[in-house]
């Protein structure tokens, strides 16, 4: 699929993701969003998934494996994990799962804060194309997308939207 119009509605997909998590996820699991799309989702999920879910944010800029090629991206955000990582159940939340490299970086970063008991992965879209042995625990929708398209989540006035963009690089 390479047609932007064929993308699912982001808000509906978020509800589908929450539906899959409901009952399956630990009642005290922390939701840690990967900047920036994952952070928006992690903020929304506690209202949709019953339980007591602290929210954290992670910016993987300092853990990326493409630094040598692309340098440091400007506007790195502060990683904030306002709960004790040791022994916690953590659900990493990301918008689009593609190669798996961001998730790898996020898992590495998590372990610099402590030793979680369990780490799971929730993604809005799994578009395939993995380059690492990483699979989502919870997934809103699976899509097959041409490699030269990137799927971008945007937020406008609190409302989430998915779009496909031809890759510049």
């Amino acid at each position: 699929m390479s047609d932007a119009t064929a993308l699912p509605d982001a808000e509906a997909t978020l509800l589908a993701l929450a539906e899959r998590m409901r009952g399956a996820v630990a009642h005290d699991a922390a939701f840690v969003g990967i900047y920036s799309g994952g952070a928006w989702l992690a903020e929304r999920l506690p209202a949709l998934v019953p339980g007591n879910h602290p929210v954290g944010y992670i910016d993987v800029a300092f853990y990326r494996d493409d630094y040598a090629r692309t340098g440091l991206k400007p506007n790195a955000k502060r990683t904030e994990l306002p709960f004790d990582v040791d022994g916690a159940t953590i659900v990493l939340v990301d918008d689009v799962l593609f190669t798996g490299r961001s998730v790898r970086a996020a898992v590495n970063e998590l372990f610099d804060f402590g030793r979680p008991a369990r780490v799971e992965l929730a993604v809005l879209i799994d578009r395939g194309g993995r380059e690492l042995p990483i699979e989502p625990t919870y997934c809103g929708a699976r899509l097959a997308v041409a490699r030269d398209l990137s799927i971008v989540l945007s937020r406008d006035d609190g409302c989430l939207r998915l779009a496909a963009e031809k890759q510049g690089r």
Binding site: D59, A61, F62, Y63, Y67, A68, T70, G71, L72, P74, N75, A76, K77, R78, T79, E80, V85, N108, E109, F111, D112, F113, G114
Partner: protein
């Protein structure tokens, strides 16, 4: 003449001085430093950004403090740090500065952190590397003569922004030995670049460089007049060897006129912050009651300094 610190894309590849840097680059460094501050609060105070890179601390002039902050910054970025106190050792063997640099480049250095007593020494190294097309090797000026100390200037800017949020409504006073101060020069360039409307320098005429007003500052010889209504006071260190002799009659007289006391500080705005690049001479340029007082942000400056140096190294090494 192209700014020797920027590559063909206008990105920062060496940090030699804040003079002539576009404001966006300075703001970008400050923005990048913010997430690095939090790394110091973690269990594992390290990120893998510069894993496998070699940072050479090339100190031709001794400074344990500055060298240590660069060393911590580099290690928190997972770089390998090699400290070289060159002093007189290799130059007395007839090896020139550039010989030393070439040798270390052959050992696969990625970043040189350079401290030198001569103004312009880091420029010489950067120009040499640029001319030899060794653009993957980067230079950070850790203080050259009286010329520049850009990472100190940046950490001062970071501290000011942290407490005051904006620059466009600030009055900043820099007090003391401006003549010999690379810290003052770098901070002045940084403040004017970011649009600070009033930067004052305060001190006796013997410690003011010629035509300093051309750098965009107002000169005050009377400290009380100079401190009136300021938002930020930056005290400069007075070197021991300058306290007696032709520049000043005595440390005591200096303190009387230019030492920062609670009483003089009361002339500034109530929410003034007091900064000092360290190490302090208590009782010479600053009273202990002020240095340890509620308005002092001298210790946070040190913490921010590590984050700013991490930001600088990770930005230039990626460009």
């Amino acid at each position: 003449m192209r700014n020797p610190q920027l590559n063909a894309n206008g990105e920062l590849t060496h940090l030699l001085t804040l003079e002539g840097l576009p404001p966006d680059i300075i703001r970008g460094i400050l923005d990048t430093a913010t997430p690095f501050v939090s790394i110091g609060e973690r269990e594992v105070k390290k990120v893998p950004l510069l894993r496998g890179k070699a940072v050479f601390n090339l100190f031709f002039e001794n400074s344990t403090r500055t060298r240590t902050t660069f060393e911590i910054a580099a290690k928190r970025l997972s770089a390998d740090v090699i400290n070289l106190n060159i002093g007189a050792s290799s130059t007395s063997k007839g090896e020139t500065l550039l010989d030393t640099v070439d040798n270390l480049v052959a050992m696969d250095a990625d970043i040189f952190v350079v401290r030198h007593s001569q103004s312009g020494a880091p420029h010489l190294i950067a120009a040499h590397l640029n001319a030899a097309e060794r653009r993957h090797v980067h230079v950070v000026n850790a203080g050259d003569g009286r010329h520049a100390h850009p990472t100190q200037g940046l950490l001062d800017l970071y501290t000011i922004r942290h407490y005051k949020k904006e620059f466009h409504n600030l009055t900043v006073a820099i007090v003391g030995d401006v003549l010999h101060s690379r810290v003052a020069r770098s901070l002045i360039h940084g403040l004017t670049t970011l649009g600070t409307p009033e930067v004052r320098v305060i001190g006796p005429r013997t410690l003011m460089p010629a035509r300093v007003e051309a750098m965009g500052v107002r000169t005050f010889n009377d400290m009380r007049a100079g401190l009136a209504g300021v938002d930020v006071v930056v005290m400069l260190r007075l070197q021991n060897e300058r306290m007696k002799g032709a520049l000043l009659p005595s440390a005591g007289e200096y303190f009387k006129h230019y030492g920062l006391t609670q009483e003089k500080l009361a002339l500034a705005k109530p929410d003034v912050i007091v900064m000092h690049p360290g190490p302090m001479n208590r009782g010479v340029e600053i009273d202990s009651a002020v240095a340890d007082g509620a308005r002092s942000v001298i210790l946070p400056q040190v913490t921010f300094g590590i984050a700013v140096r991490m930001a600088v190294m990770s930005i230039i090494a990626g460009n």
